[in-house]
Symmetry: C2
Subunit: 133 residues, 2 copies
DNA sequence: CAGCATCCCCGCAGATACTG
DNA sequence: CAGTATCTGCGGGGATGCTG
C-alpha cells in the first residue's frame, strides 16, 4: 500500500493539529481543567474527593482531564500501592503558577457574575423589542 | 398533543443547565472567546480583522462567540449603517477586566510552553518504558 | 477506590449557499 | 463586508459494566 493512502487516516489526539501555544491554553482553559486546577490550588485531593468537589463530572472526563494535566506537567499523581487503591493529585510548581492565573479568572467571574447576568437581561430585552416592536 | 410530549424536546441553549458561575467562566474560557478577548485587549477590531488576527476560525464560530460575549456585556458591538457594512468590536469595561485575567493566562502559557512540552516528553518516554520494559 | 473499555447520542463546529 | 440559514460529520462526553 502506498504511504499516501495512509496519511489521511493518521490521527493524533483531537485538536493536536494546532500550534503548541493554543494547545496548552486549551488544556488549562478546558471545561474541567479549570475546575480541577482551582480545586487543587486549595489542597491535594484524592480522585473521589475531586469528583465530589467539582460535582457533575463523569469519571471518564475527570480521569481524562487529570491525565492531560499530568502529562503537561501541571498535576502530580501519587498512586499509593495499597488496597484499596489511594491516589492523590496535587499541583506541581508549574501547575501552581497556571492555577493561580486560572483562579484570577474564577475570582473575577464570581465577583462580576451578577453584572454579566444583568447585561444579558438588557440584551435579551432589547432583542425582543427590536423583533416585536 | 399532550404537554408531556413536549417537555422532552424543550431545550435551552446548550450548557445553560448549569450554575451561572460556571456558565460565565465557560464563556470567557471558551476556545474562541479567549482569543477574541486577548485580541480586543490590544485595540478594537472589525469583524474581518478579528478573523485574520485569530486565524482558522470559521465565520460562524466567530459570530457566535462575539454574540455570546456581547450578550454577557463583555464586548461592545458598533455597527455603522454604511455600505459596505462596517462593524467594530471593542471591550466594555467589564470585558476589559475579564480580558486582563485571560491575558494573564495567555502570558503564562507563552512563557511556560517550553516547560510543558518538556514535561510531555518525559511523560511519554516514561509511559513507553513502562509499557515495553 | 480508582480507573479502563465500550457503546452511543447529540451538539459543536466546519462547509456551503444566500442576503442586506 | 458582515453577517444569516441550513446541512452534515465526527468527536466530546455521558452511561454502563468490568478489573486490579
Amino acid at each position: 500500500m502506498a504511504v499516501s493512502d495512509e496519511v489521511g487516516s493518521v490521527r493524533v489526539v483531537a485538536g493536536e493539529a494546532m500550534c503548541p501555544y493554543r494547545l496548552v491554553l486549551e488544556h488549562v482553559t478546558s471545561r474541567w481543567g479549570v475546575l480541577v486546577l482551582i480545586e487543587l490550588l486549595d489542597r491535594p485531593h484524592r480522585f473521589s474527593e475531586l469528583r465530589r468537589a467539582i460535582g457533575r463530572v463523569s469519571e471518564k472526563m475527570l480521569t481524562q482531564t487529570l491525565q492531560t494535566l499530568e502529562r503537561d506537567g501541571l498535576v502530580h499523581r501519587d498512586a499509593k500501592p495499597v488496597i484499596p487503591p489511594r491516589v492523590d493529585y496535587s499541583l506541581t510548581d508549574l501547575g501552581r503558577e497556571a492555577a493561580e492565573q486560572v483562579r484570577g479568572l474564577a475570582v473575577w467571574t464570581e465577583a462580576r457574575m451578577g453584572e454579566v447576568q444583568k447585561a444579558r437581561e438588557v440584551y435579551d430585552a432589547r432583542k425582543r423589542d427590536s423583533e416585536q416592536g
